[in-house]
Symmetry: C4
Subunit: 204 residues, 4 copies
């Protein structure tokens, strides 16, 4: 099975997820700007989730880019990841509507946690199916960022019960960590692709 | 008519279907985790339908993969199948909200049944239009799994009136049956594709 | 501007339109099958609109298939057509919820009418931009079906005020007219494409 | 990173945005045409936003068309632009439901303003990454239309507090300005593409 349809399907689901969150922004019935004020937690949740889904779309793109074939196992690892991603609009709305109270903030962190775990499983399924793909192995590396994120999400979930604001800061910190370009790794991948391509050329 | 736009359109509809189900997960207004508890049948229905739509997407991909041309009849067989698929979010929400009572559980099974029947019709329309495509014939084979599923859905619909829990177990069993990779058949298809491709090469 | 992105964008919008109509099927709160009964006009409207959007998707595909370049005018003619198409879910829901009363049934016919007019404008914009494309001219021909449809929609809109049931029958008849494959024309198009391609080959 | 997936993802998000606005057209419960009358501001807002999103889709297409590679910065500039675009359905519904009162009309203008600013940032990010792409530089030019739009949106936002009708006229005027084909610029771009292509041919 080629990877094109998997990419197209994932892109479709991600595009829908990032967009339907806006449907949870309930239009206030009053024309006063004051009616907008109580919506700030909803907007803030929306922005955070928008950034998270954007980061995942970007990372997913790079991950799938370096492989050619998709096995049945990878396909289901991908669907499993999309499943957890699909819960983001739900927990985003719950957290926003309840102004970052303990329960919803913990639930939000839990879904982020499961997204990260599912993404790690997807990466491992890919490595399992492409044991000789050096570019892929390098691209994933020891996945320090991924492991750190999982640890921070766990901390965030626990923190929610003591201070939801602190938990939120942890979630924001993780997203910032992913936003900062990691040029060293990106360089490695590019280099790896070139190496592989030159290896292919040599083989022909 | 090429198959690319049919694939893209089907993927689009399936991606939307699998995602809008999440809109039926009504956000509880209370921040308590207790408010989540009554939602478990809704979540369980969501997971089951997510898996079903995932299976169909996967199978549809393999089915269309082996043909090149799409006739008007196949196009409408495909739309007919998408129509029944589009009712899944509706019956999922009805079943989830009513905690697996007899009526909604039977309706859920009925829609699954019609999806399976429509899928079988689509497969037959493809065979009818590609009578000489050996790979396609092999891929579909005598379609034991498909026929068994239809029988099980029928049993599930009837069972709903006696025990909705048993009916649900039947639906889950069918999805598990499709999740287990059927390596023998997948092998056959791959082999068939290779045979056909080598036949093409010989012909040129 | 190439036609690929126009096709992809139109497919995306059409896939969403055909799917979000299902969101208007409000889930009944009661688990009784009796709760489904009052929904039959909603379901019937859904089926009719599903078929209509399916027909348009199919026709649009064939129309765009025979051209290569898209001008700014064609792009806006296409968006204008998508605009009227986007109102189908709205009038479908209004007609379904009000059990085919005069006003909503007339509004439904009016939107179908405008879709047909916008589609005819799109076809003319294409011909205007490809005056020498014989295949396109043949494919559109004198567009008897299109003109007949517009006349029938007009009759349907007027009929709605006397008998909504009769108006509905007119709308159904038009959809059936489009469902019946018009092999003579399809043959012409295929032939035309072959002619054009052979002409191109001769020119090179 | 190739531009195909960025184009596909942006198209997906834009197709969803332009379509979900129709979900904000709440179906009236009465079958009387009179029930439609109070909906005219909602319809008018819908049409205006439909045209705006159509213009952006068109412009985005032309902008991305002339580049080949997408850097991480461009990707995030694109997501930032999509973020502001995603708020259009929200402010459209708010403005429509409140019959063009001061607050919502100003908010609508503010979101249009931010879309234009984000689009300008995206264009600059592209130029920054393709300093030698003469076609891109020419295509963007001194971006008089873009700057004028930003100024007009600002005027519109301020005007809203004095006369929402006047502000609305300003927004409509900006959309008309973009709808009128700017043949001189389009000519330049086409010319530029030809120049570049001939330059490439010379280089080979």
């Amino acid at each position: 099975m080629g990877k094109n349809r998997l990419e197209a399907f994932s892109d479709g689901v991600i595009a829908i997820l990032i967009t339907i969150m806006v449907l949870e922004l309930k239009v206030p019935h009053s024309p006063d700007f004051g009616a907008m004020l109580p919506l700030w937690p909803v907007f803030m949740s929306y922005i955070l989730s928008f950034v998270y889904i954007g980061i995942y779309w970007n990372n997913h793109h790079h991950l799938i880019h370096v492989v050619q074939e998709i096995s049945g196992g990878v396909l289901w690892a991908n669907l499993h990841w999309l499943f957890w991603l699909s819960l983001i609009p739900f927990v985003t709305a719950w957290m926003g509507e309840n102004h970052f109270e303990a329960g919803p903030t913990a639930a939000y962190g839990f879904v982020l946690l499961m997204c990260a775990v599912a993404y790690a499983l997807l990466a491992h399924a890919l490595v399992f199916n492409h044991p000789k793909n050096a570019t892929l192995a390098k691209a994933i590396g020891n996945d320090r960022k991924g492991k750190l994120s999982i640890a921070l999400y766990l901390i965030g979930v626990v923190l929610s019960w003591f201070s939801a604001g602190m938990a939120l800061l942890v979630y924001i910190a993780v997203s910032v960590m992913w936003l900062i370009p990691d040029r060293r790794i990106e360089g490695k991948v590019t280099e790896g692709i070139e190496l592989e391509e030159s290896a292919k050329r040599d083989a022909t």
